[in-house]
């Protein structure tokens, strides 16, 4: 048999440090939930985490927990639990997996961190619908379950420019959260602390940007699959010193890789942009599949979504509003296409892969003609693969492999003819 090449993926040395700070974060959350003196807030991934941190809340991110359910492949078994109580298999599989896990009393945290049994019990739930409506439904379910307040921001959507009118709207909505949060936390908002938190968030996301932009180098020193793991601190520890320190270390390691000319994938032949969510339960397989083909999937909208250049400690609340509105997912296709186009150029991309995730329409940008438009305008070929973030019943591995291999063969043909 023709010998298939073994995949070569390089381990990132800083991973150990990241595991450590993530572990400290989870133990601290657990301690906060157990302490009578501390309060726990649950927050959506691009919700007002800065405000919550500044008010002393320990902040849990259910999306992070749901992604862990996906990555540990526990999700597919748990989703049906939520289906049976009326949450359709067609809606967000983060929501259904997470609620399913709660109903079954199961958590990946318990496996990874001895002594922790479940996510911390919330005192308040705070959402921002900038990403989707599902987060509001998800949090509302827990609000009823725990009998705690659920408040949030109902975001404008599908706009091209972040106008001052929209910033006014969201700023006011953020301000309107403060009285409830003060009541739950038992302390008034300290503006100096909010400024400090916003400054740290800004610094963290700035470093995260630099980390991701190391992939502009040829060969790229990190892949999208590395990014999905290493974005952990940018998601759950935004606004803290630990996250900032961590990204300094990671950045230095990646810069060294560039200096050594060492790519994340051996003999990088093609450079791919990933549009959409990862298939959490298949991170390893996908990463190996591309490595075997000498293909670097090196940049994504998803990982880049945690870069918020708008945070400004001088204007904390307005700049938070701007940052939450600036998010890719909440913008119009016109904006999204401009954004992707400049990324394709900046990262020297040969092809785009869209992941059409069955249960997350908001992160599936292949449904309104975008691949065709972008392909026409840039000449860069694209592939759409069907799958899901968490529900592996929607994933066909054989179809994915054939589609990806056929796509790479197409890129090869182009190169041969060029």
């Amino acid at each position: 048999m023709a010998q298939e090449k073994q995949p070569q993926r390089k381990k990132i040395e800083s991973t150990g440090r990241m595991m450590k700070i993530m572990s400290e974060y989870f133990y601290d959350l657990n301690a906060a939930a157990e302490s009578p003196d501390r309060k726990v807030a649950w927050c959506t991934s691009v919700g007002p985490a800065e405000l919550l941190r500044a008010m002393g809340f320990a902040v849990h991110f259910p999306e992070n927990h749901a992604a862990m359910l996906g990555a540990t492949r526990m999700a597919t078994e748990l989703i049906p639990e939520a289906n049976t109580i009326g949450y359709s298999p067609d809606i967000c599989s983060y929501l259904t997996a997470d609620i399913g896990a709660h109903l079954k009393g199961i958590s990946p945290l318990a496996r990874a961190y001895p002594g922790i049994e479940a996510p911390p019990r919330p005192d308040v739930l705070v959402y921002n619908t900038n990403q989707c409506r599902d987060v509001q439904d998800w949090f509302s379910w827990y609000a009823r379950e725990f009998n705690v307040p659920c408040i949030g921001i109902t975001s404008p959507k599908n706009f091209t420019d972040v106008s001052e009118i929209l910033v006014d709207d969201v700023s006011r909505q953020i301000e309107a959260l403060i009285p409830t949060l003060e009541e739950v936390s038992g302390q008034p908002l300290d503006m100096a602390r909010l400024r400090e938190t916003v400054a740290l968030s800004r610094e963290c996301t700035e470093l995260w940007r630099q980390v991701l932009e190391t992939a502009m180098a040829v060969p790229a020193p990190l892949t999208f699959f590395d990014g999905t793991i290493h974005m952990g601190p940018a998601v759950v520890l935004r606004g803290t010193r630990q996250a900032v320190d961590y990204y300094r270390q990671l950045l230095a390691e990646l810069q060294q890789r560039i200096a050594d000319g060492s790519g994340a994938v051996d003999d990088e032949l093609y450079r791919i942009y990933w549009e959409g969510m990862p298939v959490w339960g298949r991170l390893r397989q996908h990463s190996e599949l591309f490595a075997r083909l000498n293909v670097s999937v090196l940049v994504s909208t998803y990982c880049s979504s945690w870069i918020f250049p708008d945070f400004d400690p001088e204007e904390p609340i307005r700049s938070m509003a701007r940052a939450y509105l600036g998010l890719f997912i909440v913008r119009s296709d016109t904006y999204k296409e401009q954004y992707i186009k400049q990324m394709l150029e900046k990262f020297h991309i040969d092809g785009i892969i869209y992941h059409d995730a069955k249960t997350c329409p908001c992160n599936s940008n292949s449904r309104y003609g975008m691949p065709q438009r972008l392909e026409r305008e840039t000449g860069i070929p694209s592939l759409v693969i069907s799958g899901d973030l968490n529900d592996l019943r929607c994933v066909s591995d054989e179809q994915t492999v054939t589609n990806v291999e056929a796509f790479i063969e197409q890129l090869e043909e182009r190169k041969d003819h060029a």
Binding site: S396, A406, E409, R414, H417
Partner: protein, 262 residues
């Protein structure tokens, strides 16, 4: 040694196809068998049959490439495998060297592949994880109607009317079919509706360019599908001499090209 032969093997989920071609690309021998559960054994039997047809033996094999679902289960290949997308494209372009839209209807999946006038792939689409429009759909319907697969084509041709199926879903479609039987509708009309639904599912996957080629086992065994497609798209369709073998022929042509580079 007689003359060198180049082998292409298309190991589909449903059928295994092997061809032997010469250095001019002429088809010398071929074999098709159910893939079954022992892919390696089926591949070996098909290989020997195809070689026998070509009047050659294993020692005459200059190069061999595998494609299809089971492409990594084959022992005697000499080149790294390629996907069936590339191989169907190569096989069809060999027969029709011009800008093409290729529609392959297989046992488990469908593909639409677009090539420019130089044979370069412009893009492709595979059906999603669903049997709609595939051979598996037809098999399910034949089982429901209790009519052998081989008879479906002639029955469809005899239809005077057509009873359309509304659903995407194979199971719901089967329910619709049973409903029609219950209402005493002619079986031929029902089968024509089944054929129509298959083609419709495939056509809605992508837009078509001027020249359209149909290939795959389902088309090979149901030529009426070709006529229906022509009617539906309003122009003639190109059909390779061996529609079921285009993937295997493509693989053999690639094997020959790679041997030439060595």
């Amino acid at each position: 040694m007689t003359r060198p032969v180049f082998i292409g093997l298309d190991m589909g989920a449903s059928r295994t196809k092997v061809v032997a071609i010469d250095d001019q690309g002429t088809l010398l021998g071929h074999a098709v068998k159910k893939s079954g559960i022992d892919f390696a054994a089926t591949a070996a039997i098909c290989l020997d049959d195809a070689l026998a047809g070509a009047g050659a033996g294993r020692s005459d094999i200059a190069a061999a490439m595998a494609t299809g679902y089971g492409r990594s289960n084959v022992a005697f290949v000499t080149s790294r495998s390629k996907t069936e997308i590339s191989c169907h494209a190569r096989g069809c372009f060999h027969s029709f060297p011009e800008a093409l839209t290729i529609i392959d209807i297989g046992g488990q999946d469908n593909k639409i592949i677009k090539l420019d006038a130089a044979g370069r792939r412009q893009g492709f689409k595979m059906n999603r994880k669903c049997a709609a429009g595939t051979g598996a759909f037809l098999e399910e319907m034949s089982a429901r109607l209790d009519i052998p697969l081989e008879e479906m084509n002639n029955l469809a041709r005899r239809a005077t009317e057509m009873i359309k199926i509304g659903s995407y879903c194979t199971v719901f479609s089967a329910t619709e079919v049973l409903e029609s039987i219950r209402h005493g509708k002619p079986v031929a009309d029902i089968i024509k509706g089944i054929f129509y639904s298959m083609i419709q599912r495939v056509l809605e996957m992508d837009s078509l360019t001027e020249k359209v080629v149909l290939c795959g086992g389902v088309v090979a065994h149901n030529p009426y599908l070709v006529e229906m497609t022509e009617e539906m798209i309003g122009r003639p369709v190109l059909l390779p001499e061996y529609p079921q073998l285009t993937g295997a022929i493509g693989a053999a042509l690639f094997a020959r090209e790679e041997a030439g580079k060595r």
